[in-house]
Subunit: 249 residues, 6 copies
């Protein structure tokens, strides 16, 4: 299975971390390629930045994903997921989507854990978009991370563990999904320090894609995820323009 | 009041129609400017095309909207609305958002009416995004429009009237919102031929923006619609890059 | 446009405040008439008092609204709204309905702010009746107002600002709707003291009615808001009896 | 137990039917009094008519219910229920509320069955007000009744049975609640002709009140159903004015 | 009316308490039989224990309920309710179901009160299963009970009253349902010490069954509560095997 | 990975089919054991039968699952899932749970497809239990299967394909989950005959468990899925009694 990992943030260190976590989690037969955004902010964190990253994720998908068997979106807002799922034929999942779905099979409720209160309603909207609000015990946040913490999240393991245990005790959260590509790989460190399961959305995403690859379902020919009609886009990159021109009926 | 109308479709005839409807509906003191997308498909109709149009709408907003008092999104998927509302200080509304809000004050339920079954779940998601599903009697669709019908919707007034009356009688819809910028201005023709109120989202949008202009509320300094932190974007247009660099604290 | 403002509370000072705020907010061509309840409690604050006020609001509407172009209900429970909307042909909106709709276009969530914990579930039911619970961050309350504070709400601006900022920080509310006709006009004073937009439902209501007047939709001929069949009421006022006798087919 | 049955319709034949059904269903120790509305339409059928009937129901409650142990609202819109429950100390239930609650203990879903499509959304709102939409399989309607059918519903038993069986087979309704005080007593005739349980809300209401009488809970001293503060109403009947003046703390 | 009370806990002292409360609450003509579980844990408290108790409750129903007119499940998880309702012809209610339905007729919202945080999400799921989440102000818990407290709940009346008053004041709960068969009979002691109505689900259940007995509806012949097709079970008790073999068409 | 497949139906041919499908879908390193119910009906199809099967599934889990790394419930009602997840330490998933989660990553909505209208509300409750109703386009049913069709579902491929295409076209379902362990393995045959993806819950379940095995999260120590306190059960099998006696703290 050829797996394309898309990091639409323009920060290479995030891609490196994603790549390492994906490679460690994937089956031995999986060939991993990871690509980084060229347009947009270093780390996506707001609605407007998500809009920019969605197109960049789609650009990366059509440029690098033509022969991929599966695509993993390595950004915790799952930015661009619906768009890529529509225009590409293979399974596509977002890391938070995968993390939440996994969490629902471990316990009754989950909390997303993020950094900075600003993103809380955005994650709540993402949860609502997946219609999973009924399983959410509420998104919780720690103070925003410094650049150093962003690059080395082990620095904040203590605060993270304390927050998770508090969320379990006070909010009744029965599991936790870590929101943020920079946290790929940190779950095992937390495992013995917290009272509830901690889900790494990247690891979940790899497993979910392997499952979907095995399911081997057909591209929809009906509904809102079938291919758009082929058409000529104005002003887009060559890869995008070609992709839309050659969409099959 | 300076009103910027954004049509992120790349079809000028849509802008012309929007411009005429807006000018007819706006108060005498309103100065209207209407701009057209330069990137993307002629008519946006799918999830992926919406993603492209969202960034284009944001581009148009930061390029043309710096001294606007209000922004109206003239695309029935309200594409880019949340992003623009975040990065700009003035009121911003989408034509379908406005149409639905108006419809809720006229009767108990509304149906969006669109063309082609493909967009039905996308409108339903938009309705759900606004948390208005409880007021929706279900989105209904007529067959997709030909290019000729798209440019002259009067050709399909008979079918539209019949569909609206059927939706009222069978689905219990108590009002209708026309989905599609190309239908700007058609509501008065339907008025006497149908049993329930027909809302033109463009006219509603103009009125809603005039109301918000009068309300004169402050740009949020808290929550997910406050300005993002200023930052340097990579690979974006000059207007976007400058806008993000100069975001106030 | 002839605008009838109905205050079904029996307190004239509330009507005076409403009248001033409406006149300041309305377009220059709007002719404002404001009327006060003759039956019921001085200030409506409970379910039973709302039931009484609903009929009184309807009485005022049929008596004074025959040649109005639009009706604004100046009571924050929007008491009688559905009834008046059914029996009258012109647009009718409630001040809280208008305030909430405006708030949803400014940010993701709103909180109603009221006085006394008793009304909290009643506002929550009103929000649910409009199916806007998904946009509510919860109704919050300050201690009940004294008669002096009721007549001069500027006395409690400090407490109000503090409560709003706390609601934004702790509950994640992204905007606020002031519940209470007595607060008409107070929003501008709060604007610079709070972190999120504050919506005055009266100003919003005026704007919404101007928008609906422009939309100029037809009275429903189908559904639950078409006219009732003409009938003879027993024991009601002359105005009500005549209105119901002369309802068109 | 002294049971007051309130029919806020101004039609005595409805009261007579209610009275007979209540007396047949009540325990031997129950003393039944039934009263009829003096103000409003003969048969309440719309939102505005409900508003009028709500105050009339409250008038009847404060005038005739001072020494009652329980109050049953004999109108299928449960008009005035919340208001009476607030100002009176004894249990108060509506016939549709009781019918729906009973239906939820017999099967998974219920359908209200009414006459005329106009009331369908009003019943759906009532169901939603009770937060029972998740148990509703949808309200269904037969054509409006003639005056003769209204007075002798046995005339339409065939159509009613056919509609119920169709609703069970096509909509998946697992039980039915008859909406309309005029249908009190018709359920036994339907029992062997339909495939699902048929609930008579009047009989259910009597049983529910007997249960609440046995529960013997206290009048709330907290929340939105505690007594309003005593106050002087303007322009209301002597009974209402006295009742509000003498409300306990 | 012959009333079978099923306690699927294997603790006889719970049955004794249930039996006393039921007998005190039931009409004079009701003949009460109460039976105790022979399989499973002494006191059911978890999901797995509920699964065991559900079958035991069903065993007790088919063994002892053949000539009963009504069945009351005396376990606050309402364990086995849906199963028994399906295979038996007479009305069957659970004590928490009955308590919640009663509570909704007394005020706007209820809180279940339980002991130990573990059961909170299980009660919330039960509430959601009945689709009553919209009326719940949240399940609250006190510390788990000691064996002594379990057998003599009067020991914790002070803590219980304090918790109820706190839940009313802070969470806005307008009534309370006691979760736990061991609390049968404690409500009258709490009545004057708390600000909101306290519902005893056992008393409510008796009244609800008397109401359903009076309603005298037919066993469904359509939908998910009609009898299963007769079949031969493997490895079950004689009573269960015979019951399933002899199920009517 | 040692994978235990539990078929709580007492029909060996179902286990054989499950076993073949699981073995074909699992990674090469997975060791599959499949066990069959000894108590209950041949094919579980009703609420009461589910209650019986839940305990039998739990019996099989504690008897055969002590050294398993993962457990797959091979019954489309996911019977016993919550109970087993509570008392066992390894990942446990149900085939319908897995199928639905997979379906949500392929398109916007899914329909469960079952046989016989009786199970439709039971599946809808299962979907609601997972809080996935917002992704369901409604459960649809074909006529009940004969014993021959049950054992050889290829006989009904034509009807199944026609139903799926109809559900896509008329109900807007964007994917389908096959409900019924007997349909394991039939999805590839349908793939080219239908317009939307068809998910085999067994294949999805294998993949989901492989993902959860890789995630390697800890057994909850907090919340409703932590182990029950150790206790002595009465009257249960040796395996169950021992398991509950030895539950860790």
């Amino acid at each position: 299975m050829k797996l394309l990992v898309i990091n639409p943030n323009t920060s290479q260190f995030v891609t490196d971390k994603l790549s390492a976590t994906v490679s460690a989690a994937a089956d031995s037969g999986v060939k991993v390629t990871a690509v980084t955004g060229r347009k947009g902010p270093p780390i996506v964190g707001t609605r407007a930045e998500c809009a920019i990253a969605a197109v960049e994720a789609m650009e990366l998908a059509v440029e690098h994903g033509q022969d991929a068997d599966a695509i993993l979106l390595g950004i915790s807002f799952d930015t661009g997921l619906d768009a890529i799922r529509e225009v590409m034929p293979m399974p596509v999942v977002g890391m938070s989507e995968a993390g939440m779905l996994a969490a629902t099979t471990l316990a009754r409720s989950f909390s997303m854990v993020t950094f900075g209160d600003r993103a809380v309603p955005i994650y709540d909207e993402l949860i609502a978009h997946y219609r999973l609000s009924g399983r959410s015990a509420g998104t919780v946040s720690l103070p925003p991370l410094s650049l150093q913490e962003l690059q080395d999240p082990m620095l904040i393991v203590d605060r993270l563990a304390a927050k998770i245990n508090q969320t379990a005790a006070q909010n009744g959260a029965e599991s936790v999904v870590l929101a943020g590509a920079v946290f790929a790989g940190i779950a095992p460190v937390l495992k013995d320090r917290v009272s509830i399961p901690v889900v790494d959305g990247i690891v979940a995403g790899v497993g979910l894609l392997q499952m979907l690859h095995q399911l081997n379902t057909a591209k929809p020919k009906q509904g809102s995820y079938r291919y758009p009609a082929a058409k000529t886009l104005t002003g887009m990159s060559d890869a995008m323009t070609r992709h839309f021109q050659e969409l099959p009926d």
